[in-house]
Symmetry: C2
Subunit: 424 residues, 2 copies
């Protein structure tokens, strides 16, 4: 007999079906017993006459007849005729699967990750993340970008040696890449012109905050023949508006589970672009404090301001000062052609035009205390003819977090890595 | 003026257009000079009256009038009216971009990777790889799988400690994952049931062969509620037939460049499944040699046999002996429910059903000289109820290599890592 997904059982009233899933809840009433079965698609109430001899989280195959019952979840239930226990679960769960995850602290949820991922609300984070990865990739391919996969093992960092994890690589030492910056620029200059990559990136920073991960998934874009960061901002607007629309089609119900909401159609078009200085003024007048640099509190204040003023809780900040940006950022007067996107109070994108002229790059290095040494491969991208180009990156876990309104970004990674956490 | 891609210039005869790209070839004829411009879409002959004062690989913006000329590549050329040099290239290229890459040895091509990637034939490998990543992802999402991104930093190896690169992680040591095996099984048991991941994987093996990379891109699949490896073989057939068909739509011309061919419609349906013992007998009778294990030569002999016998150059081998497979492989008599797919003479997939019963797993460990210690997280997947499941992985570079008929898998990675190579 073929398996019916639980979501489809309601269309088979009066028929015999076979279902498979996990035991989510058991209610023994004496003569009659109810078991709530869970599969990837939903839940179903199973009605048993005999006493259930299995534990919560055990995996079953069950056959029976579908009956209407308006009191049952989804309006139907299954009168069990036959069943098989495919796997029996230990009766002592380290964490209950069927309770509200908000009742547990994050360390418990992450320590017992194998179990906490089974909670339907927590699992839904990764259903959304899957749809997000899908829509990003679909949109980029449709926009004519090539998908690349570049090495994460690098001889040295383009951004300097700090913040890098070192790897014992046979008889030498290499580092885990902080971003595919070097390689995405190389692939642009290879003639692919427009590329994207979705891969892991590593930051060996000792922070332990709700907004940082030491290993995260970076969605990286790089495109040739642009003039300034404004071309990139335009592209990111178009990209994210398509992605948000697609998420609405792919997973319309997850936002309700999280009491969050998807940005409405045309949201990104309304996001204001403010200069870095102007952003500091806005934060200052919103918070009543003197602003030296744009800190997390300032990012939240900016989004509140944008919500009042433009009806969207997001801001592009461009015109960053040179000393706040990496050496390869294209200069413009005393500032740079670079930008951040702050979305719902959190920076989710950094990007900008890059220096593509070899001479300008050579002149820039000493200003950042750097030399050509160790950068020969990077510099060869520009020595042999590289078009004007730029790009940006979006942290996939941060975007997931902000779309659902999750407190801590670690909850948006299935197996997060922080300073103390390297398991499971 | 808006940029016209070179592939579209032929539709604009008699009109003024703006094009942008790299200088691929310069032919000075005295009064009249020809420059072949290259962009991501193709080539265009530019006709100049003045002497070109730029080098090969420089990047230009050019405007002019489109004229028909049947002698020009593509049947049209551009009479240059105006141009701007966006980036000038050093006159001494370490490697010519516009020559047949087969004339250079692989070390030269990889040492000067930033330049060799610009060669259109080499670049086309990564156009195909992009289309391959796209079709894999599209097909998996359409088949109802969830895309996951799991940590590559692991506390210890499920496959034992050999072959792992170690990473200095703050005050401790972790390892680069050889595969997402542990995590994809955990995500199946989380209730997502059907998952896939396309991410980097690492093997610290000291081989230096045309079929190995120390860092590669692994396409991983894992699915619940299967009965044996035959369900996985069926799924891989359906998956790859869809992927091959899609590649034909997305990049119909790249196979000609490489004088290779795309497997025809229904190819995967015809691939025979042979038992491991039977495979050895076939190799023996094909090569006239005694066969102790299935080596690269044997893989090629098997595909030759399949081509003669079944009209396809691929074979599934199932029924592998237990000692040839990892401890978690589901046993069947003295053998296992596992398989390889050999495609065009090279193993591109390993997969199988996994042990999902906690007791069976505990009993299996000592047979492989292992203990529960260090495997607690892995074992907890099964301790708390895990459905029957299995999966497989495809090496993305190997599949790219075999689709195009490339000699060495290193050429199918933009920045390959081997024992000696960690740059660029």
């Amino acid at each position: 007999m073929k398996r019916t997904l639980l979501v489809d059982v309601k269309n088979q009233v009066g028929q015999e079906v076979q279902v498979q899933g996990w035991v989510h809840r058991i209610r023994e009433m004496g003569k009659i017993n109810f078991v709530l079965l869970r599969d990837r698609s939903g839940f179903l109430q199973l009605v048993w006459e005999q006493k259930p001899e299995f534990t919560l989280e055990s995996v079953l195959t069950v056959t029976g007849e579908v009956k209407e019952n308006e009191k049952a979840p989804g309006g139907v239930e299954l009168l069990v005729r036959d069943f098989e226990v495919l796997a029996i679960a230990d009766p002592e769960l380290p964490l209950p699967v069927n309770l509200d995850p908000d009742k547990h602290n994050i360390d418990a949820l992450l320590d017992h990750r194998i179990i906490s991922l089974r909670n339907p609300k927590i699992r839904s984070i990764f259903e959304l993340q899957s749809a997000l990865l899908r829509s990003l990739s679909e949109t980029m391919h449709r926009e004519g970008f090539y998908e690349i996969k570049t090495s994460k093992l690098i001889g040295s960092g383009t951004e300097g040696g700090t913040g890098l994890f070192s790897v014992d690589y046979f008889d030498t030492k290499v580092y885990l890449a902080q971003s595919p910056q070097f390689y995405k620029q190389a692939m642009v200059s290879s003639g692919l012109e427009r590329v994207f990559e979705i891969s892991h990136a590593y930051r060996a920073e000792k922070h332990d905050t709700p907004r940082h991960l030491n290993e995260y998934v970076s969605f990286d874009v790089e495109m040739a023949f642009i003039e300034s960061e404004l071309d990139l901002i335009d592209f990111e607007r178009r990209l994210l508006d398509q992605v948000f629309e697609r998420l609405g089609q792919l997973c319309p119900t997850i936002f309700d589970i999280w009491e969050s909401s998807l940005p409405e159609k045309g949201y990104m078009e309304k996001v204001p672009v403010v200069d870095h200085d102007e952003a500091k003024d806005i934060i200052s007048s919103e918070t009543g404090k003197k602003v030296f640099e744009i800190a997390p509190e300032g990012e939240r204040a900016l989004c509140d301001w944008a919500q009042k003023k433009h009806g969207v809780d997001a801001v592009f900040i461009n015109g960053w000062p040179r000393k706040k940006r990496p050496f390869y950022t294209y200069p413009k007067d005393q500032k740079t052609m670079s930008f951040d996107l702050i979305f719902r109070g959190l920076e989710i994108t950094t990007g900008g035009r890059r220096i593509n002229e070899y001479k300008m790059l050579l002149e820039t290095l000493p200003k950042f205390g750097m030399s050509e040494q160790g950068l020969e491969d990077y510099l060869s991208i520009f020595k042999y003819g590289c078009p004007p180009h730029g790009g940006f990156a979006i942290g996939v876990e941060r975007l997931t977090q902000k779309l659902l309104g999750i407190d801590n970004v670690k909850m948006a990674s299935p197996f997060p890595r922080d300073r103390k956490r390297v398991r499971p």
